[in-house]
């Protein structure tokens, strides 16, 4: 099932949760919507599910208008951040719910329903919890049951809203791997929302980075990390050094100090220079584009994180390999192996 979203706009009062969003999701894809809170990612997901309605724009499933249908008719599996399991039903009945409420004409008989629920509980590896109540399960187990419940209706699309947001770090990591292999197995077009970049980069085939109701970049996890399209993406994904620079007469300046970096093709004016922390190579004083004094060094396993006061006035943090020990007070040269400059 493909999903196509065209020029979607949704306002809450004067706040634009979605401000003209276009997106195409391919069949069988596992897509991540990544962004800070308030970026509109959950609103987009809820509109696709039919739980919210846009002010304008289109949503199509396989080219067919989805906005003409309510949540009930769309056949979309939705997994909530806080599980939204039915407290008064056993795990078994929770999973069976979608099958039991089907119209009489298409409803399966009891034996088929039971077999199907067993199958789903097997799939999420929780068949031994069938007779428990949701309150007796751990968070990770509840979320897997919520997923099994959503899958029971054989959804055309699976939508997950911060599915691991309420879980602790260790469980999240396990479930991430599990979700990816599950998706591989069932191969349903899936979209999940997250504010955790690691989660998005690790699980998804493609990542959509959103900010302030707009899509900033769509690309593979490598794309958005290695070639960020905007300043926002660069600073949001991965740890970045951000420096305010001035470009004039083909020269890039940090404060009043010219940098030995090429300014070819860059528009003059105030700009921002982004470098990944581990892309700053340390050299002897006088080498490289920057020069600075080491203020403070901490060791993290294979890297040393150094705070460096640049001679342009800014203080930055870099991650350097430990083949050359840095000490507080050293003067060093720094050469960005890779960098990007965005206007504004």
């Amino acid at each position: 099932m493909t999903i196509e979203v065209r020029n979607l706009v949704k306002k809450f009062g004067s706040f634009a949760a979605l401000d003209g969003v276009d997106l195409k999701v391919n069949d069988g894809e596992l897509l991540a919507l990544l962004g800070p809170s308030g970026s509109g990612k959950t609103t987009l997901l809820r509109i696709i599910a039919g739980l919210d309605w846009p002010d304008s724009g289109e949503v199509a499933f396989n080219g067919e208008d989805a906005l003409a249908q309510g949540a009930r008719e769309r056949h979309v599996g939705f997994v909530f951040q806080h599980y939204a399991l039915f407290r008064h039903m056993t795990v078994f009945e929770n999973v069976a719910f979608g099958l039991r409420v089907q119209p009489r004409a298409v409803r399966k008989d009891e034996a088929t329903i039971r077999a199907r629920v067993r199958e789903l509980l097997d799939l999420v590896q929780l068949d031994w919890l069938a007779d428990r109540y949701p309150s007796q399960l751990s968070g990770g187990q509840r979320q897997r049951i919520a997923l099994a419940r959503a899958l029971a209706i054989e959804p055309r699309i699976l939508l997950l809203d911060e599915p691991f947001g309420a879980l602790d770090a260790k469980v999240r990591k396990e479930l991430r791997k599990w979700l990816r292999s599950l998706h591989h197995e069932i191969n349903v077009t899936s979209i999940f929302v997250t504010h955790d970049q690691e989660e998005a980069l690790e699980v998804a085939n493609r990542v959509v980075v959103m900010d302030k109701g707009k899509i900033e970049q769509i690309g593979s996890p490598d794309d958005v990390y290695e070639s960020p399209a905007t300043a926002f993406v660069h600073s949001f994904i991965g740890e970045s050094i951000e420096l305010p620079v001035q470009i004039a007469d083909g020269v890039i300046r940090l404060g009043d100090r010219p940098l030995r970096l090429a300014a070819d093709g860059l528009a003059p004016g105030a700009s921002r220079l982004f470098v990944r922390r581990h892309d700053m190579l340390v050299g002897p004083p006088g080498s490289g584009a920057f020069e600075g004094a080491v203020q403070h060094v901490r060791n993290f396993g294979p890297v040393q994180r150094a705070e460096v006061a640049l001679s342009g006035g800014e203080t930055i943090e870099i991650d350097a390999p430990r083949n050359r020990e840095l000490r507080a007070g050293d003067t060093i040269g720094l050469e960005p192996r890779r960098y990007r400059i965005f206007a504004g």
Partner: protein, 261 residues
């Protein structure tokens, strides 16, 4: 612990025991004769029957009111929320006078109803109306916190799983509210059975027709027939107790299906 027990004894247990002791002054035969008299039976039937009917109406209407108060934001919501408590706070006699004036044949509501051939004041219907009036806050106030606690997401979940609105209400919302609804029903019922002040004004108090059991007790007392009064009281006590106990068990059973979080 000791304090709790002594206090409970002084306030509740000793008066109840006194009631039973007093009724022991009667021989079983006398006791039976008092109860089996037509007037007593009719009074008990009016009290329990109408109280139960009123509690059922309150259950339905109370649920609707709670739903509106919790789920919708509308101007004056806080005011309505406060108004629900009025029957709690109002002296029952005041409520009785107000209802009687309203439903009397020349009252604001009584006149159009009388024109339609329905007589409310001074009939059992009047008792029924008064019982609904005093019982409604019990349902609203017991169900309200539970509904507030119920995450609207579970309705969205039910909807996205293909449930119709009706299926969502029957299969998801009502079972979650079950124990609270039963408690509200029991409280509204208990209050309506014991209600005296507001009912006697509007009831007309016609023996065998619109005479409630508490009033009959008062009448017997004023006739110095103390044993008769206590006999009726004991029956009311036992029946109330049995009903409350049954609802309690039902509620436990409903709750056991939703283990505490």
């Amino acid at each position: 612990m000791g304090l709790t027990l002594s206090w409970l004894s002084i306030i509740i247990l000793i008066p109840l025991a006194g009631l039973f002791l007093k009724s022991l002054e009667l021989s079983p035969e006398q006791f039976w004769n008092i109860l089996a008299s037509r007037r007593t039976l009719n009074a008990l039937r009016v009290s329990f029957g109408l109280a139960f009917a009123a509690a059922c109406v309150n259950l339905v209407m109370g649920s609707i009111i709670v739903w509106a108060l919790v789920r919708y934001r509308f101007p004056g919501r806080r005011l309505f929320d406060a108004i629900v408590d009025v029957p709690f706070a109002l002296p029952t006699a005041v409520a009785g006078v107000a209802l009687t004036a309203l439903f009397a044949e020349k009252g604001w509501l009584g006149a159009p109803l009388a024109a339609a051939g329905i007589k409310v004041a001074f009939t059992p219907v009047g008792i029924f109306v008064a019982m609904i009036f005093i019982g409604i806050p019990f349902v609203v106030r017991t169900v309200q916190p539970v509904l507030q606690d119920l995450d609207p997401e579970i309705e969205e979940a039910a909807g996205s799983l293909g449930a119709s609105r009706w299926q969502t209400i029957i299969r998801v919302i009502l079972p979650s509210l079950g124990p609270a609804l039963l408690t509200g029903l029991a409280l509204a019922f208990a209050r309506a059975v014991g209600e005296y002040g507001s009912v006697i004004f509007i009831a007309g108090n016609l023996p065998n027709v619109s005479e409630i059991a508490p009033l009959l007790i008062v009448i017997r007392l004023s006739e110095f027939r103390y044993a008769d009064a206590t006999a009726i009281a004991v029956v009311m006590l036992v029946v109330s107790f049995v009903i409350i106990f049954a609802v309690n068990r039902l509620q436990r059973w409903a709750q056991s299906r939703i283990p505490a979080r």
